[in-house]
Symmetry: C2
DNA sequence: GCAACATATATGTGACTTGCAACTAAGTAA
DNA sequence: TTACTTAGTTGCAAGTCACATATATGTTGC
């Protein structure tokens, strides 16, 4: 925009602006299935429904910083892989006022996910039920521990659906999968992550070859402990994330 | 966010909000190279620099609608493929005040691109010089007609770089390329689009097979006109976009 | 009407990738 | 020592892709 256009068409004091928020999809794995951390809303609107942790963007913080703050304050998580997902701007997405929300995807290794659940924040885990294959897209459901679908607040079902879609799309050509694993992991664990996200079984030798040929993995020389059978080699990311 | 959190932590009247804008990457092809339409800024800040067309998001319009409006009002383009790219929220991206901008990618077929250039809006075309291969990523330059790099305003160089990156990534598995072509086109034209975006030559028979095997294309039965050699078959998209 | 020409379109082939099944290796447990 | 379970490997068929080559079909010039 030119400054003339700007001054002529928009007086920042005179025209009200949409509010700007960030919402976080806190995604991890539970029992080999994708899961998210949600907050139960106690007040209307959408009281009793489940919502993504979110917060407003301060004037003095970037979007990424706002997402980190929400991660810390609302979920009690110090560190996680965070990436911007999409910005949702429907007029009626929040009944109170116009709120535009920048959705972020946070990927939590199993341990962080469990710690966040046990922490101060009143978070609950919900299994993501994805009824479509590949990158078809479509709605997803968040299931309670008993397998019942949870009612989601606002447009958060759409945000969850997009999160799964994006993750599936990036899984094979990027290193996001490692954000869901501890620092050291076996190839089987890596395959389990891929299978959980994609929702389909993968061929073991082919997967192994592909991963090792990529050159991202470095064997540690140590093996996993505590198994009652042959322990697998532990790997780590060669170029740390 | 819970409503309690919301009311406790954020009084919409008391706390100032970032301004929210959309910026458009108007992308087309010129002489087999990717090109964008830019506006020269006449006022400070960044007077004399080149900027993406943009505008503020109204309280009563969605992000997509705001992008359509900018497309119409600032570029005089009635219709184009529009998709959200990324939301830029650095604190100092605009020296006047805090502005968060949702960047959109608009894809223009050659004809729309030329019409926009000849229209009312004072747009100029700039060739995109992409000095990296594949999806490496990195900075891009906008070149004037004489091949000199143009000084870009704000963080618009970053936005352009991301636009190229995204387009390259989506080119092969989505149908975005067709948004850069007229309704009817030859396979050679389609290949030219791919080569221009990717910045590398492609193998003809392989490209042809891949495209035809996808099942997206439908031969029209007619051929291109005006060639001084064997005219190629014209295709259209089977499932219109 | 006929060759020259330029490009469209099709075919053939070897290198590489992927999916699957069967195999060997290495640990625990009894 | 043997049974068992999972880790990790090997071999091969099917499919994909890049490249070279061959054929087809329009225009242009004579």
């Amino acid at each position: 925009m030119s400054e003339a256009d700007f001054l002529a068409g928009y007086d920042p004091a005179a025209f009200p602006r949409p509010a700007l928020a960030v919402d976080l999809v806190l995604l991890g794995l539970r029992d080999g299935r994708p899961a998210v951390l949600l907050l139960e809303r106690s007040q209307h609107p959408h009281a009793g429904r489940w919502a993504l942790p979110g917060g407003f963007v301060g004037l003095d913080e970037t979007l990424d910083k706002a997402a980190e703050r929400v991660l810390r304050e609302k979920a009690g998580i110090a560190l996680a892989h965070l990436e911007q997902l999409y910005t949702f701007g429907a007029l009626d997405r929040d009944p109170r006022m116009r709120i535009v929300s920048v959705a972020y995807l946070a990927l939590l290794p199993e341990r962080s996910f469990a710690e966040a659940l046990d922490g101060e924040a009143p978070l609950a885990a919900a299994i993501l039920d994805v009824p479509w294959a590949g990158e078809t897209g479509g709605p997803v459901a968040a299931l309670s521990r008993r397998g019942e679908p949870l009612a989601l607040a606002f447009d958060h079902a759409d945000i969850l659906a997009l999160a799964v879609l994006r993750l599936r799309g990036k899984l094979d050509y990027s290193d996001v999968a490692f954000a869901l694993l501890p620092e050291q992991f076996t190839l089987r664990q890596l395959q389990d992550v891929h299978e959980a996200i994609l929702g389909t079984p993968l061929n073991k030798p082919a997967f192994r070859r592909r991963m090792l040929d990529r050159g991202w993995l470095k064997p540690t020389g140590t093996r996993e402990a505590g198994t009652s059978f042959r322990p697998a080699e532990l790997y780590r990311l060669a170029r740390p994330r």
